[in-house]
């Protein structure tokens, strides 16, 4: 029944978060059911950590995203994270440029308008959408905390978010320019863009703790697991199921 699907999805998402995070607990086995969550002032879910009978913010951060066919959960230690997944072949009902003009920044509209091939334009649109969503979710201030028009996400060297041979890592770094908030320096955030299972784009945005502390950017170590909660975990990093588009060496 169609009505059942979103509820099943929400349940799966919750199971995924709990079983994933339980894997990271340091002190022996943790029952996923015992994990406690709360929402920050803007409504972003966070993990609470019991330390000497007090419930504090946990150094573990997570974020989830789901589409009709995939639920994703990203976990980091000591850094804010936002993740968004979208079907590769997703089409929108509106004209892409009309939509972009309404919601994206001027530079992003220009970037999309410059792409002549409609299929490539559609792909880049979906990638850009996931990157923007991931950034806003990482900030944790809600959609209105960082309206889409107030920041631009782009490749440092310009051009599409596509993998190339002989990547010059500097030129292919995904960066964000925020007009409104000077605190949101480009260097504070790292982006990854992946293709998952040949069917989805996944964008991950993480706080760059190294930059925040004035150190060099630390390269991201990413491990991807394909999981059936409570049943089966399969590490798919390094397989065809995970193709890095940008951000990973």
């Amino acid at each position: 029944m169609r009505g059942e699907e979103p509820r099943k999805r929400a349940l799966l998402a919750r199971a995924l978060v709990r079983t994933t995070i339980a894997r990271y607990q340091i002190n022996s086995q943790v029952n996923p059911r015992s994990l406690r969550f709360r929402k920050n002032v803007h409504g972003k879910p966070e993990l609470e950590w019991n330390f000497s009978d007090h419930w504090l913010s946990s150094p573990l951060h997570f974020n989830i995203s789901h589409t009709s066919s995939l639920v994703a959960c990203g976990v980091t230690i000591n850094s804010q994270i936002g993740i968004d997944v979208e079907e590769k072949h997703r089409n929108i009902k509106h004209n892409i440029l009309s939509f972009a003009r309404r919601y994206f920044s001027k530079d992003e509209v220009q970037f999309l308008a410059d792409i002549l091939d409609p299929e490539i334009q559609r792909q880049e649109f979906v990638k850009l959408w996931t990157l923007k969503e991931a950034y806003v979710k990482a900030l944790g201030r809600g959609f209105s905390g960082a309206p889409f028009k107030t920041f631009t996400i782009r490749n440092k060297g310009g051009g599409c978010f596509s993998p190339l041979e002989n990547l010059n890592s500097e030129a292919w770094q995904i960066v964000v320019d925020s007009f409104d908030d000077p605190r949101d320096l480009t260097s504070n955030w790292q982006f990854l863009l992946l293709e998952l299972a040949g069917s989805h784009y996944a964008a991950i945005c993480m706080e760059n703790i190294g930059a925040v502390e004035g150190k060099r950017t630390v390269p991201v170590k990413l491990k991807v697991w394909k999981t059936i909660p409570f049943l089966e975990d399969e590490c798919v990093s390094g397989t065809d199921a995970v193709k890095s588009i940008s951000g990973l060496k």
């Binding site: 509820r7 009709s68 979208e86 929108i92 009902k93 509106h94 939509f99 919601y103 959609f143 209105s144």
Partner: protein
Amino acid sequence: MASIATSSVFFPVSSSLKQNQVSNLKMVSLSFTGKNFRSLRLQPSRFRVACAAKPETVEKVCEIVRKQLALPADSAVTGESKFASLGADSLDTVEIVMGLEEEFGISVEEESAQTITTVQEAADMIENLKAKKA
């Protein structure tokens, strides 16, 4: 040696309104001289008062939602329907808002767009914005 005994006392809150009765009531928006006090964010509470939009508006919103989510014409979409429960993801919700802007000739700020989760809330917001335009 003195011993201190503490005990917790619970006062169960009994309400004559059961959970499923409250869910039918909607949020009220406080308007002073035509401006909404955005800083007065009403947290979801047990008491919500209905300021319902016109049925035609609600029906139009249902139509737009059905179209966006490619739902069959006879699928159950009503004022109470939550976008997320109908299968809308974030991209769908933004498209729905865009569709509403086009249909009703209004402009929805992103802050307002974020607070809409049901058909009724969308319809109420539309009536609000249309009234402000007039």
